[in-house]
Symmetry: C2
Subunit: 365 residues, 2 copies
């Protein structure tokens, strides 16, 4: 079997001595089938896949998604439910004689799992909770995925540069965030990949600040953290900019964070661990005396989801592999004063990493 995702999944089914796996996680569903529907929420699924080793894989959904499912899920048989997914699944499990069924424990509500367990018991199916199986396949990007990620990064940078050029003292954080998200959509993004962060002055001390009605002021650091979704693939970039002249402290801190970013960039290659990548940046920030002010990990994987494996943090002792796409985003956060964060995306290669960003706005000051 080749390395296409469905074949990887089939191999995993064999290894785990399962008869089939139920896929409910939306990005995994898309990755395996090409079906692009998203879930309004985890409680409002737009369908599940049932994959086994030999039978034709199935996409179970409801009539609202019938046309889209047929058009997109190439190689899948589309089956429609009208009285809920579980009623149809029960029939299918029985007909196919599924004795051991894996399901995505990390994207399955406990309440739904209780119902699934009742259904499974009736047809003699044993349930096997799985976590992160397809997510593991998704970590290594193929050529087509890398192209889509590059396009998403380019679009994101275009939007940033257009809005950056229009920034003025007195605009509020919310106005800037709105301009960013509007420009994204005008330029063809399907959506922001997460809620845009614009955090100026003291607000920047919160890594996950929500844009406020506070007007931008001269000289203060302004963190802009933004990403687009284009053709399903995400981008994620942070710049810290200043209107007017940055003072000495701001300038120094930006330089520390940039040096940390460059140190991690120089370190990252296939074979080092996520922990080692994180440490490379963290050491620089520690040496500058701000070790306690860098409270989050160095980065995370990006692909169909804006936050996915692998994480670049002290908790990840696994080795990076070529083809993984990660963010490199060190920061320094000083309560009451503000924050600095710089974030690029990179693809891991056998002998290093390639930065996907071309934008250098305020990086090297």
């Amino acid at each position: 079997m080749g390395q296409n995702p469905l074949n990887l999944l089939r191999a995993a089914i064999k290894v785990r001595k399962l008869d089939a796996i139920l896929i409910s996680q939306p990005e995994n569903r898309r990755y395996l089938s090409g079906y692009t529907a998203t879930d309004h929420s985890i409680a409002e699924s737009s369908g599940v896949l049932l994959v086994s080793v030999h039978d034709m894989p199935l996409l179970l959904t409801d009539s609202r998604y019938a046309l889209q499912a047929e058009a997109e899920a190439f190689g899948f048989e589309v089956m429609l439910y009208d009285r809920g997914m579980l009623a149809l699944l029960k029939k299918v499990l029985k007909k196919r004689g599924v004795c051991r069924l894996g399901f995505e424990s990390h994207y399955f509500l406990h309440a739904t799992a209780l119902k699934l367990a009742r259904v499974a018991e009736k047809v003699g199916t044993e349930l096997v909770p799985l976590t992160g199986l397809v997510e593991k396949f998704r970590q290594g990007k193929d050529v087509d995925e890398l192209e889509k990620i590059r396009a998403s990064v380019r679009l994101n940078e275009e939007v940033f540069q257009e809005v950056y050029a229009s920034l003025r003292v007195g605009m509020t954080e919310r106005q800037v965030a709105l301009a960013i998200e509007t420009t994204m959509r005008k330029k063809g993004a399907s959506a922001p990949s997460f809620e845009t962060i614009v955090a100026a002055g003291p607000n920047g001390a919160l890594p996950h600040a929500v844009p406020s009605d506070r007007p931008l002021q001269t000289g203060e650091p302004i963190i802009i953290d933004m990403g687009t979704v284009l053709n399903g693939y995400c981008s994620d970039m942070t710049r810290t900019v200043v209107l007017g002249e940055p003072d000495l402290k701001t300038r120094d801190l930006i330089r520390v964070v940039r040096r940390a970013q460059l140190a991690a960039t120089a370190k990252i290659r296939a074979g080092i661990t996520g922990r080692e990548a994180d440490r490379a940046a963290r050491e620089i920030i520690k040496q500058a005396g701000y070790g306690k002010n860098f409270g989050h990990g160095l980065g995370h994987g990006v692909g169909l989801a804006v936050h996915e494996a692998p994480s670049l943090s002290s908790r990840n002792r696994k080795k990076l592999r070529a083809g993984m796409v990660v963010t490199i985003e060190p920061g320094i956060y000083l309560p009451g004063w503000g924050g600095i964060r710089l974030e690029n995306m990179a693809v891991v290669t056998t002998d290093g990493c390639e930065i996907l960003n071309a934008d250098h706005t305020f990086l090297d000051i």
Copy 2:
């Protein structure tokens, strides 16, 4: 004890012979505590509540949300975790001697529940899965909530009317949706309450159509389904409009749908069931020969969530109560041709219902 939500929950804790309930669902968390943080996803919680009958209620969160939690969750003790929620919860359960702990099975990942079960076992706590408990309290809106919903409806209508006045043949569905969402945010909405639907001509045949790049054409029905979030509370409204003169068929269908809406509006009052409300509208559409072309329920509750209980559908045999806020949104969908949907929001009263919408655009043609 009065009827405030926390006291209702405490009464439920007693009735179920529990020692405490863990609240993870974001709207429930906000409803009970005033803490307005949302979850980026169900896997990235911004905190949980632990409520028991006598002890001070707790809000467990991490340092990113510390300031917000302290400022908003009045009457709650804020406790911060740095090595995950479950590690802190374990200590608290032990210290408080919680023997039976209820948790929200409908907003708890199966994988997280497995971990919670291991933690609970270690400290001798029995887990009791609950579903929809706080959602039941949320169905009846108090005066303050109704005020907020009214404001959200007003804002939504202002946005609709402004964008409606700017509609021109040749604009694409996506452009219109973008104009709507941009105008919402300019006017102070925190967000759209769901992804705006603009579905013209044949696209209107899909109740959950996604805006496309197809330009609007003269004479075709254009479904615009939109809602805002303002101060946490949602609105939801649908109009079907026509640029230029509607043809006879469009005009007829709009009239059928409007008559169905008015029939349901006349029927709805405290004491009738969701099923009866649905039937009142469905009968009109059936009589006109389009019974099979109204494939969804008549409506749903609206509040902190844009889709919440009660549902107005053939499946809901429970009685409506005064203070519930529901949508009334019949529709007719003809594959290949398009669709008509009209949606208002109403608050149920003891002797009828009060329509919250003032907008009459294209309703009575």
